[in-house]
């Protein structure tokens, strides 16, 4: 009887612990909730931060369970930045200018996305690159991209995993 009582307590503790973990996973970090707002306009890229000089510009915003990134690629003399493989939850994207190509990890699918098109990536590894002189896009992620840090965190070639993963490859 005593054993059964302790077993009940243990199961309860176990449930509470897993419950707390699952609840924590559902909500992003507290700094992610910035309230309702208009974040940007797709026609205006003048305020994007320069992450890689003359080649890659981006700014990001969070909501409790999502992150949105507005970015611009410029080929210039060096050609486009080649990012590494990415996997970061479910993702949607919109191409405002240019043309991009994406491929899934197992190469079972190649997709070209043109101006004005919306696309969805499943939660599997993928690569992407800009195929025109300039590409302007935004991408929406869920869950929140904690790896970016809070809004306003300076993004660099090494802190941006999409860029840094491909260094030396």
């Amino acid at each position: 009887m005593q054993l059964m009582r302790w077993l009940g307590v243990a199961v309860l503790m176990n449930g509470l612990w897993f419950g707390s973990v699952q609840s924590a996973e559902k909500a992003g970090p507290p700094w992610a909730d910035q309230g309702p707002r208009i974040m940007f306009n797709v026609f205006d890229t003048t305020s994007l931060a320069e992450v890689v000089p003359d080649r890659f510009f981006m700014t990001f915003w969070h909501s409790p369970n999502t992150t949105i990134v507005h970015n611009v690629w410029v080929a210039g003399e060096k050609g486009h930045l080649m990012g590494g493989k990415s996997i970061h939850g479910e993702e949607y994207g919109y191409v405002h200018k240019g043309r991009l190509a994406f491929v899934l990890d197992d190469a079972r699918e190649h997709v070209v996305v043109d101006e004005g098109q919306f696309m969805r990536w499943p939660n599997v590894p993928h690569w992407g690159t800009c195929m025109t002189e300039i590409c302007e896009i935004y991408a929406w992620f869920t869950p929140t991209r904690d790896d970016y840090g809070s809004e306003g965190t300076t993004m660099t070639e090494t802190s941006n995993t999409w860029i840094s993963r491909n260094q030396g490859e």
């Binding site: 309702p36 306009n41 797709v42 369970n65 919109y94 098109q117 969805r120 929406w140």
Partner: protein, 172 residues
């Protein structure tokens, strides 16, 4: 003391059993593995008309999120009435038009959106109102709106539309 020891041992065993069970046993019905897909072209946005003269609507389900496209049109009777809804975290891209987002919590300032604006908010009760002759927009939301909208290609009551209004004015 003995009780605490037993509790700890049982807790560890129970935890381990759950972890092992979760990692070793595949789910009874594995979720579909969605493909990478282009699902909408803003330059050729022809949505199924669900309220003739007033609304085109289409949705696409993901694993943990839903994309919804809407095309509001003002007809002789004006825009169709919209109601407050609350269904998770939302990003709204206003492709064309002027649109207001109002929140049930009046301490939240309304958003006045114009063509090209992208807005977001957390899980708040809100409604949208088109302020131009037409509004074309795309919403990404999480969690997935499976119970509300069902599978792609279905004919659900569109978001923000009162079910009674839809019953009398909608395409059935």
């Amino acid at each position: 003391m003995l009780g605490r020891l037993i509790c700890s041992v049982v807790f560890v065993l129970a935890t381990a059993s759950v972890v092992v069970a979760e990692s070793a046993a595949p789910p009874a019905s594995a979720p579909p593995r969605f493909d990478l897909e282009v699902f909408l072209d803003a330059n050729k946005m022809e949505l199924p008309v669900v309220v003739p003269g007033q609304l085109g609507f289409q949705h696409w389900q993901g694993m943990v999120s839903t994309a919804v496209a809407m095309h509001f049109k003002r007809d002789a009777g004006g825009h169709l009435p919209t109601q407050f809804r609350q269904y998770g975290d939302i990003n709204l891209h206003l492709i064309e038009g002027k649109l207001d987002v109002e929140f049930a919590d009046e301490t939240q300032q309304p958003l006045h959106m114009k063509t090209g604006d992208v807005a977001s908010w957390g899980n708040l009760s809100h409604r949208i109102a088109c302020r131009s002759d037409e509004c074309r927009l795309l919403i990404f939301s999480t969690p997935v709106l499976w119970q509300e909208l069902g599978p792609d290609g279905g004919n659900p009551v569109p978001l923000y539309v009162d079910s009674a209004y839809y019953a009398t004015h909608g395409r059935q």
